[in-house]
Every structure is written in C-alpha cells, then in structure tokens.
C-alpha cells in the first residue's frame, strides 16, 4: 500500500494569483508524491491559504498549472475537483451547524460519482465518525461540538470524499498539547493508509514528526524546499519567520 511509487499525485508549477497589486501566490512550484506528507510553511500572510484555494478551486489562478492525478485541474470549478478526489479542510473550521454530525459526514458521501448506495452511505458515516474519534455522536447536532470535535467532524467530511489527496489548512492550530498529540497520530494513521497529504502548518513539532518534505513560502514566493530539518535550518527561512512577523 505505502510503497511510494514516484508518481506525483499533485504537481504545481508556476502557480500565480494576484489580488489587485498584491501577488499573493507568485510562481509557486510544488509536488506531492503518492503516499507522502508535504508541509507548506510560511509566516502569516505568505499565501499558503491562497495556494490551497487555487488547488481546491475556490479561486482561479492567473497563470500556472496544477496537475492532480495526471489531469490538469487549474481553473476547474471546485465541485469537479472534489469529485476527482481532492478534499480539504478550512483554516476557519467550516461545520454545517444546522445539521447533525452524521449529516455533516453524509454531505461528503452523498455526491460521489457514481453514487453510493444508501447502505454504503450509512455504513461509511459510522466508520468515518469512529475513524476521527466521534463514535456514537452521529445523532448530535454539530452546533454543540467543542472546537477539536468540530475539526474532527470537518476531517471526517473531507475523508468521506474518498480522497487521493487531502489539503489540511492549519488543522492542528488551536489544539491544546494533549489534543495535539491525538491530532498528529490521526494524521499519521491517514498516511499509513496510503493517503497523500499537503499540510499547511505552524506547529513545528507536527511538521518535524509528520512531513516527508516541506515547501516554505514568503510573500507569495517559494523560498525553500527540502526535508523538514534542512528547511527549518535554512537561514532564509529563519529570517522570513523572524523578520516578517513574530509567529506563534
């Protein structure tokens, strides 16, 4: 399963997007090999979320290409990209508050192509809730969940798409130290199942222990790329983090 074939599941090159005069993402190159976790790092405002938005189809790139599982997806609408098997979570957690936990997960299951059967959906809802640590909570309204449980639920919804690639936007942010350990283990177990992950993260422990490779951005540009220990020791990266803003 995890025998990493060298084929990249995601290959981004020259990705660029400007907001007015501000080039939020500037000629970014990046690749995620099948079965790998790649970290996308950078100080606040460096363009990480914008880059994810370009990949998941929230925004259209001005230029550059995005190949996902061998197919060009730049500029495709978000629902088509999701159907191809690219799932994500959001930096500001997005849970469907008017629905139950089970319905939140069902949202990720109900629109597969070809459609799943009712039985498959019900079975998968239970399995996914268990998977993220929300077993037996399906009937509860999502609005009553704690912060970490909202994050778990959002992850379950993303996994419900049966993704080949998962984009996590600061999924570990805001967790307390013990929750953080649980969260890191959960992400690691997803990798062990063969899922490829692009991880936007500020938590250094998580980056060191999870990532195979890292890409560091600053002011929209890629300033470093390599193994986590290499990148975090890179003088340009240290300067970016210390020079631009004092980061959490």
């Amino acid at each position: 399963m995890t025998a990493a074939s060298p084929a990249p599941v995601l290959e981004v090159s020259g990705l660029t997007r400007a907001f007015g005069g501000l080039v939020a993402v500037n000629a970014i190159d990046l690749a995620v090999q099948t079965g790998q976790i790649v970290g996308l790092l950078g100080p606040n405002g460096s363009g990480k979320t914008t880059a994810l938005n370009l990949m998941s189809g929230v925004l259209r790139p001005d230029s550059g290409s995005i190949r996902f599982a061998g197919q060009a997806i730049e500029g495709l609408p978000a629902h088509r990209i999701a159907r191809l098997g690219l799932a994500r979570t959001f930096q500001l957690v997005r849970v469907l508050n008017g629905m139950s936990c089970a319905e939140n997960v069902k949202a990720g299951l109900a629109f597969h192509r070809p459609p799943l059967s009712r039985g498959e959906i019900d079975e998968s809802v239970d399995r996914l809730l268990r998977r993220v640590g929300l077993a037996n909570r399906g009937g509860l309204p999502a609005s009553g969940l704690t912060y970490i449980d909202c994050k778990r639920l959002e992850l379950a919804r993303a996994l419900a798409l049966k993704p080949r690639l998962l984009l996590l936007d600061e999924w570990l942010a805001g967790l307390n130290p013990s929750e953080l350990l649980i969260g890191i283990e959960l992400i690691r177990s997803l990798k062990d199942e063969g899922l490829s992950i692009l991880l936007v993260e500020h938590v250094m422990d998580a980056i060191r222990s999870l990532c195979d490779r890292c890409v560091v951005m600053n002011s929209g540009r890629r300033i470093a790329e390599g193994r986590p220990d290499e990148v975090l020791a890179d003088p340009a990266v240290i300067e970016a983090y210390l020079g631009v803003s004092t980061d959490a």
């Binding site: 998941s56 999701a82 799932a87 997005r94 508050n97 949202a107 109900a110 009937g139 798409l161």
Partner: protein, 315 residues
C-alpha cells in the same frame, strides 16, 4: 409506514375530499376567498421551495405570474386549455432557466434587486409590445372556465406543489440545497454542482408560479400589464413565506392563510393605506419572528423533553 403516518395520510385524504367538494356548498363570495387562499398558498409554498433552502429572496414572483396570465390572454381562445397550460409551463421554465443561469452566481443582495428589476422589465416589454404591435393595452380573456374550475385547478396544483416539495426534500437535490443554504463553499467541496442545483430548483418553483398566473387569468375578464404584473404580489408572497417560516415545506402555507385574510380585509376596509400596513407587517415579522411561526413553534416544543424516537428524515 407507521400507524401515525397512515392516520395522517387518511386525514389528509379526507381533508382533500372535503376541500374538493367545497364549491358545491359555498356561495360566490366564499368561493372567491377560497381561490385567493389557494392562490397564495401555492405561490408562497412554491416560493419557499427555492428561497427556503437557498435563502435567496426572489421578487420575481409577479414576473412569472404575469407571464402565465398573459399566455392565457394570448392563447386561451386559440388552443385547448391543457395545451395552454403546457405552453405556459414551457415559457415559465425557459424564462427561469435563462434568469437562473444568468443571476444565481450573484450574491444574495444583487439577486433581490435583479429579480425585482426583472418583473419591471418584463412588464415594460409587454407594454411596449402591446402599444406598438397590437395597438391595444389590454386584452379580454375569453375562455370557458368557471370560478369552480379555477378553484379545482388550484387545489390540484397545491397538492402537486406539496408532493413535489416533499419528494425534493427527501432527494439528493434536497440534501444538496440544505448544504448550500448552510455553507456554499462547503457544498462545492462536497462535489455539489451548486449552480445546477439552484437553477433546477428555481425553475421548478417558477413553473408553479407561472401556472398559478395562467390558472388565475380567467378570473379577470380583462387584463392589462398593471394587473398581471402587480409588484405587490411579489412582496405579499415573501411576507407570507417568512411569517410561516420558509425553512420547512409547510411553513409558507402557515403564513399564507392568515395573511391572505388580513390583506383581503385591509384592501376592502383601508384601500388607501393597505400597502403601508403590509410594509409594517413585514418589518414586524422580520424582527419578531426571524424563522417564522414554524421556527418559533419548533423552538418552544424543543424545550420540552423529547420523546426517544429515531430521527425522521428531515424536510
């Protein structure tokens, strides 16, 4: 089916029979009032079908209603009645598709303004055509349809709008629309074609509204653009749906019945100030009952301990 569902179905069926026999027992005044009640119930329910889950406020009701009425005014004499209704359906659907595809990417506020403008635009187009081409502003509606016929057709349409609304709520489309109403970005990332879902529902809703206009046209023997494209109808329908609660299929009907009676009363007693009073009623509803009577009732009944039953498929 559970015994309660069977009982509800039986009660509904019996109620329907009683409603269907009503024209034989009531006089012309009450028949006319019943027609108004049915008309607004179908309009508000059809409006809620789209606007409830998507939370887009459409003021295009009168545009579709008027197009339905004009279809009858133009074709009523020439073709068989079912064919006229079929053509009205097709025109309403086509217009909804065009409007939907071109506007449902807009934000909520832009959509409100656009739909209001649309009604006015269609009215002006009809006026321009009548004045320049046919050289008369009004038309006589010559069809052989009695008030009782109108009543029965509206009753059938009411049944249809509830059955279709119920089917949609249980379908994948209904689920998709609930997700869109909660968070459009999440909906897209779940693989939902948001535009297609919205346009589909907008079209279904618009077809019902167009058919109400067509069925109601013979009630007037003479129509002109200001009658068929009366903007007040658009606002009345919004108020009714919001009073009842547009997030549930049967919510708008809860609002349409008391408000039809109120508007009827106001327009006979205070014809000059009725619009003002409608406006005040509207503000009161929005401030006091943001999720309508149905929402209020649900909140009150939720405070009581809930019986331990399995959750039903939600509407």
């Amino acid at each position: 089916m559970s015994p309660t569902q069977i009982a509800a179905l039986a009660a509904g069926g019996a109620g329907l029979v009683v409603l269907a026999l009503l024209p034989f027992y009531i006089d012309a005044y009450y028949l006319s009032l019943s027609i108004s009640l049915l008309q607004f119930t179908v309009l508000a329910t059809a409006w809620g079908l789209f606007s409830g889950p998507t939370r887009y406020v459409s003021l295009a009701t009168t545009a579709f209603f008027g197009v339905g009425a004009y279809t009858v005014a133009v074709l009523g004499e020439l073709l068989a009645w079912p064919l006229v209704l079929l053509i009205a359906t097709a025109i309403g659907a086509l217009m909804a598709l065009i409007v939907g595809i071109s506007t449902l990417r807009l934000s909520g506020l832009h959509f409100v303004i656009f739909t209001f403008g649309l009604a006015e635009l269609v009215r002006q187009l009809v006026i321009w055509y009548e004045v320049n081409k046919t050289r008369v502003l009004g038309r006589y509606v010559f069809v052989d349809i009695t008030q009782s016929d109108i009543y029965w057709q509206l009753l059938a349409l009411a049944v249809a709008v509830f059955v279709i609304g119920w089917l949609i709520a249980r379908s994948r489309l209904g689920f998709a629309l609930r997700i869109i109403g909660e968070d459009e970005t999440v909906a897209k990332h779940c693989g939902i074609n948001v535009t297609l879902a919205k346009v589909t529902l907008f079209t279904i809703s618009a077809v019902f509204i167009t058919l109400v206009g067509a069925i109601m046209a013979p009630r007037w023997t003479y129509i002109e653009p200001s009658i068929a494209f009366n903007p007040t109808i658009s606002f009345q329908v919004v108020i009714m749906a919001l009073l009842g609660g547009a997030h549930r299929l049967w919510g708008p009907a809860v609002g349409s019945i008391p408000l039809t009676l109120l508007f009827e009363f106001l327009s006979t007693r205070f014809p000059a100030t009725s619009t003002l009073i409608i406006g005040i009623v509207f503000l009161l509803i929005v401030y006091a009952l943001p999720s309508g009577v149905v929402g209020l009732w649900e909140r009150v009944s939720r405070r009581k301990p809930e019986p331990p039953v399995a959750p039903q498929v939600q509407a």
